[in-house]
Structure formats: C-alpha cells, structure tokens
Amino acid sequence: MEKINIEEKILSKNIKKADALRDLFKKKRVFVMNLVSSPGSGKTSILESTLIGIKNKYNIGVIEGDLQTENDAKRIRKTGIDAIQINTGGACHLEAGGIEKALVNFDLDKLDLLVIENVGNLVCPASFDLGEDCKVVVVSTPEGEDKPAKYPSMIRVASAMIINKIDLLAYLDFDINKCIDFAKGINPDLDFFNVSCKTGEGISTWTNWLTKQINDKKSL
C-alpha cells in the first residue's frame, strides 16, 4: 500500500481551459458576461431589452445554452445580433470546452461583448468557470425574496444581481430590500439592478453598468 499526495482541484481540467479562454479574451479585449439564473427568470428577455439598445455601438455575440431547441438563439438573432446555440442534451451547465468550440463562430478581433447565457440552473453553473469576466445572476420576483439564501453558491461567485419582473411587485409578497439583504449576506460586493423587461424600468441603469464594463475592458 502506498499513499500518493495529489492536492489538486477536482475541476482543474475545466479551470485550465477557462484560464486559457480568459487570456484569449483579455488579448482580444472582449468583455465576457456569463448570465445565470433558474429557468424562466427572464435571461433571454433581459438580453433582448439590453442588447438592442447598444448593438449600434458595440459588436456583440451571444452563446445560448439550453438542453434542447434553438429557440433562444432565434430570439436573439431577431434583434440583429449574432447568436449561436449550444444544446447540452441533458447536461445542466456549460463547460469551458464547449465555449472554446463555440468560439469558431465568432471573430474575436471584431467583438466587444460576448454574452454566454448559461443553462437555466442556479446550482451547477456556479462551479464551472467559462473564462468570463463576470457572472451576472438574475432572480425574478415570482421566485420569492429568499431565492439568494436558497442558492448561496451562485450568489457568492456573481458580480451583479438583476431582480427582474418588478412590474409584478404589486401582485406579490416580494420584499426587494429583503431579497437584496439575503444576497448581501452572502456576497457584500454585489451590484444590484431592479428591472422590468415588460415596462423597461431600470433597463438603462443596468445597461450603463454593462457598457462601463465593456469600455473598461477595451481600454485595458
């Protein structure tokens, strides 16, 4: 019997690929956002509302992750933005290797912003680095104000949190301040944005944050 000391991260293979992607994105000065939420929080609607306002100013690419269908990529393409769909089959998250393969569809020299809309899932995508600059997590008001407390791993690794569907607040027992406090208790560095894709409320404040990130990356 012999003992072999290893001391390695279990996901080291994915981490290495993600680090290589991060280097590439830095060299090409592309800001990369990994957008995560549970299914149905409104990730694609947020992208439609946001990207349409900045598509004339920036070159944008979108990678859509879902188990099945091209539906989300089609929705993004309707706004005039390049989108490619990754179907994971059954897998509950995207991995860096899948992003690497998807990149052949984009000219990184021309791109300013790459959005990766992850598979709707607040658990697994938290563990898989895709080489992004930041994760943005979406929580929508019908999901309940304690959503951040229920899914702390994702809140912990996110840079910003969008609370979507605030047009429904009048019909729900959802306390925005409580929701934000739950999230701050897990990650005090989060930036918060309250939006409604239906009415457009809050979209410009959120878009300003995003454009600042894109510009900061470009001027590196």
């Binding site: 019997m1 012999e2 003992k3 072999i4 000391n5 290893i6 001391e7 390695e8 991260k9 279990i10 996901l11 080291s12 293979k13 994915n14 897998a91 509950c92 998250h93 991995e95 658990v123 697994c124 938290a126 563990s127 898989f128 407390a149 702390p152 791993s153 912990r156 739950f182 701050k184 208790g185 897990i186 005090p188």
Partner: protein, 113 residues
C-alpha cells in the same frame, strides 16, 4: 446535479496520478468538499460507484471530508464557523466577511498498490 461530472473528474485525476506512479490498483481516494460547493454526498457516491467500474479504481472507496464554512470579519477580525448561508460577522455584524474555508472541491490523496 453535476455530481456525475465531478465523479468523473475525480476518477480521471486519480487514475492519471496512479499511472504516473506505476500503481496497478487504487484502493482509496480522498477528497475535500466545502459546504458552499453544493455537492450532494449520495449523488456523488452513486455516480462514483457507477463510473469506477472497469477502471483500476473499480474497488476504490471514495472518502469525503466535509469542510465547514469558516469566515473572518475584515473589520473586527473575528473568526467563526457559519452554518447558515448568511455571512454577517457574529461579533460586530459587518457583512465584510472573508471566507477562509468552505469553497473547496479538491482531491488530496490516493492509496494505491
């Protein structure tokens, strides 16, 4: 439910290290998993047992050490263990708590013949 992927990564790393050391059989694999890593033990063990068949780890045990969430307040420097997923300092109430442990997802050691 990404435990199957985690189990496969554990096996790959263990088998690679065993082969590099000319080992024939893996008897035990030690991993450390932080509470914040959101890994379910039973699902991980189930996936591990299914995936280890027909490898040199076919009879290997997976030994999981749970790592609690330990935080240090960046303002008053108080250190404490957090069972609840709300990291406000238990002494001064500050939300600026740096996590020292609890996010691990590491393979640490294997026993081989």
């Amino acid at each position: 439910m990404h435990e199957a992927g985690i189990a496969q990564n554990i096996l790959d790393i263990a088998v690679e290290n065993a082969s590099n050391n000319n080992a024939k059989v893996i008897n035990k694999i030690y991993v450390k998993i932080g509470k914040l890593a959101a890994i379910e033990h039973d699902a991980l063990l189930f996936a591990f047992d299914a995936l280890k068949e027909d490898t040199i780890a076919a009879n290997a045990l997976l030994e999981i050490e749970d790592i609690p969430i330990k935080g240090r307040c960046m303002e008053c420097k108080h250190e404490d263990i957090y069972d609840e997923m709300f990291f406000s300092c238990k002494r001064c109430g500050s939300y600026k708590v740096e996590l020292l442990t609890g996010e691990e997802l590491n393979i640490t050691e294997i026993e081989v013949d």
